[in-house]
């Protein structure tokens, strides 16, 4: 699953904000496929032409672009990757109009996230009924709820939500992050290891508290 970025006009200031975010978590996008949603950008915006180049210049690999009209064809000079719709590439043919089903706000997973697996839901909360293994990761636009042990990575609020939280029944994480701020295993308080905790952001600080 890919992360979705949603640029808003004016593009210059949007990219400036992105740069700030990336300065706080420099490796956040490394090796991670990204989808760009252009819903909010006017189709006649001259800036669209440089969109793909801006991302490439930041070493962000764009997997696809979504949010365009079904019959929209980007000029070849823009260098856009394939257009996507609902996770699948679309051609430029007419698509019959249909009311889209309401999008879910949360993702529920009924089993462990095993080492090497990645669960990602940029649109909202993720709930895991089970544990997140060492070498596994959960990424959420909103909060992350883990009913078992967190031994891998939990990355909450990826779309810039400073109110996002992480809850788990047993803290043994390799990395936790909220809204781009992160702590690795070495920075976790010794006294809360193995304990049920809630993790939130207070300004620029990650706060880890026992959950009783």
């Amino acid at each position: 699953m890919a992360l979705a970025l949603v640029p808003q006009p004016p593009l210059d200031s949007w990219f400036a904000e992105l740069d700030q975010q990336m300065a706080r978590a420099p490796n956040f996008f490394a090796g991670r496929p990204v989808v760009v949603d252009v819903t909010f950008l006017p189709r006649n915006d001259p800036d669209l032409a440089r969109l793909a180049g801006e991302f490439a210049g930041r070493n962000i690999r764009i997997l696809g672009i979504e949010g365009t009209e079904p019959n929209f064809t980007p000029p070849a000079a823009w260098g856009w990757p394939p257009l996507l719709s609902g996770g699948r590439p679309v051609g430029t043919s007419e698509v019959p109009e249909e009311k889209a089903a309401p999008e879910p706000h949360s993702l529920l997973r009924d089993e462990n996230v095993r080492s090497g697996q990645s669960v990602s839901f940029p649109k909202g909360d993720v709930t895991i009924i089970g544990s997140v293994a060492s070498g596994a990761e959960v990424i959420a636009g909103g909060s992350i709820h883990i009913y078992g042990a967190l031994r891998g990575r939990a990355i909450a609020g990826v779309m810039g939500d400073a109110k996002a939280r992480i809850f788990c029944r047993k803290l043994e994480a390799e990395l936790i992050a909220v809204d781009g701020l992160y702590k690795t295993a070495d920075d976790l308080p010794q006294n809360l290891r193995g304990k049920p905790v809630k993790i939130s952001l207070d300004g620029d600080k990650i706060v880890i508290e026992p959950l009783d």
Binding site: R114, S115, G116, G130, S131, S134, G135, A136
Partner: protein, 271 residues
């Protein structure tokens, strides 16, 4: 109904081949018709552990490529008629295997045998994926140490997503075989505890096989340990595991060799 079982681990050297040979021999001793299949193309070992290395003429790749008939490649064990071996090729690499060919071979083996035991190569690449693809049941071999447990966890994820069963939307049955368990090191706290491994992997326990010199001795003799030394601790662990595989309920304990003065106090039970 025949059962295809994969013996897999992710990490290398944890005891897959040793376990395949002994589970196979113990099932055969219980009267089941068994074939053990070596998927470790390029690094074949199972023929050595079974003591059949000088009898290999045709191998799995030959059958997959249609160069030999299955019947020509199957090597029947000299000690037990119920047990056969399908060896891997030592001179080829894993790219010589393909899903279509493997599918045909497994179908044919299902017709001839009650149990098809596939000895997986280490790693998470093609060879390991092909070994697990047709399995009905997976024996996940793990040593009580962090890296082995993590690799096993990774393999469990693949068993749940990259197998024929998973593609059909069915649940793959998985059991844990904890091997090379060293009682003395466990007592000193140098290894992960059984409970901790079970908590992390959260799959049912098939058995605990202790570390023992007998295993190395057996492979030097070219016999599965359950054949060369049926009463030693690892052999009893494998025999119990096989009874569990056949649906019996056997109390779980860690077998020990009763040689030392205090040995009889050391029959630890796992809660």
């Amino acid at each position: 109904m025949s059962k295809v079982l994969v013996v897999t681990s992710g990490k290398g050297g944890v005891g897959k081949t040793t376990s395949t040979a002994s589970l196979g021999a113990a099932l055969a001793a219980a009267g089941q018709k068994v074939v053990v299949v070596d998927f470790d193309v390029g690094l074949r070992n199972l023929d050595l552990v079974m003591g059949a290395e000088r009898r290999v003429v045709y191998d799995l790749i030959n059958v997959v490529n249609g160069d030999a008939k299955l019947a020509q490649a199957l090597i029947r064990d000299k000690r037990n008629d119920n047990l056969s071996l399908l060896a891997a090729s030592q001179t080829r690499d894993k790219d010589a295997l393909n899903l279509e060919g493997v599918t045909k071979v497994i179908e044919q083996l299902r017709e001839k045998f009650d149990w098809v035991l596939c000895d997986s190569p280490a790693g998470i690449e093609k060879g390991a994926l092909l070994a697990m693809y047709h399995a009905d049941l997976a024996v996940v071999v793990t040593n009580p140490e962090v890296s082995s447990v993590r690799d096993s966890d990774r393999i469990i994820g693949m068993l749940d997503s990259k197998t024929a069963k998973a593609e059909r939307g069915e649940k793959m049955e998985k059991v844990l075989l904890l091997t090379r368990y060293d009682q003395a090191r466990a007592a000193r706290g140098e290894m992960l505890k059984v409970e901790d491994v079970l908590e992390i992997l959260s799959i049912p326990l098939l058995g605990i096989v202790p570390e023992s010199q007998e295993v190395l001795r057996a492979s030097n003799l070219g016999a599965p340990v359950v054949m060369s030394s049926p009463n030693c601790a690892p052999s009893r662990a494998y025999a119990d595991a096989v009874r569990r595989l056949q649906g019996e309920t056997v109390p779980m304990n860690i077998p020990v060799d009763r040689t030392g003065l205090f040995a009889k106090f050391l029959n630890w039970r796992v809660s």
